[in-house]
């Protein structure tokens, strides 16, 4: 009877050890996975938060004749700022729209 109790106690202790080992292993794996995910996220963020250089250049070319207009890249969003007349604003939109750049912010103030 004593033997049986000893055996089962030992079995219990071993199984506890096994669980804690397992736990340790899991913890060991997780940080590296998290690190990898974090690295990927950082890379993605860098890519997303910058307007394509070619697009920036084309838009800058399109507004070059309007010295009051500024083209900015704010966190990956192309933004037009400055004061212009309605005629100028129309010419700017005609030129920028022809570039098909998708989403951008037009913060031009029309006098």
């Amino acid at each position: 009877m004593k033997k049986v109790i000893l055996t089962s106690t030992l079995a219990f202790v071993f199984s506890l050890g096994a669980i804690s080992c397992k736990k340790e292993k899991t913890e060991e794996i997780n940080p590296s996975v998290e690190a990898e995910v974090a690295t990927n996220e950082t890379e993605d963020v860098v890519e997303v938060n910058k307007v394509d250089e070619e697009i920036m250049q084309k838009v800058e070319d399109a507004v070059k004749d309007f010295p009051t207009v500024k083209v900015e890249d704010v966190d990956g969003v192309l933004i037009l700022t400055g004061e212009v007349s309605a005629t100028q604003s129309r010419r700017i939109k005609e030129s920028v729209d022809a570039l098909n750049i998708g989403e951008y912010q037009n913060n031009l103030v029309v006098k």
Binding site: D61, A62, K64, D65, A86, T87, Q88, S89, R90, R91, I92, K93, E94, S95, D97, A98, N100, G102, E103, Y104, Q105, N106, N107, L108, V110
Partner: protein, 140 residues
Amino acid sequence: MSTLKDKYASVISTAESVGIRNLKVQEQDGILYLSGEALNTSQKDKVWDELGKIDATFTATDININIQIAELIIGSPLIVNTESSNLNIRQEPSTDSAVVAKAAKDETVYLLEQTSHDWWKIRTLNGEEGYVYTRYLKIN
């Protein structure tokens, strides 16, 4: 009908009624894209005038109008359509390129090549040749 197509219904119908060729109207990511080809500047202007009735400051970014002038015959007369200043004629199709000549407002120049959407090669009456920004040319 989507909200944007509703909002800009008059712009779309004007493009149809003035006869913009290959007219495409497509909504994507919250922007209404309207594209096609005009035979002359007046056709294109009518569509933009209609947009001006909805967006007087021309600052809306939920509509993208890309109407280009259709292929023209080489030698077609083009009118310089600057606001007041002379139009730069450049050696290469880029604003970084050297200015080789200038054309006055309302002067007629002649088409040599529709190089890209932005730049065309032209010749003046005096025989000066170079590239100009198409935004400042009018086609009658």
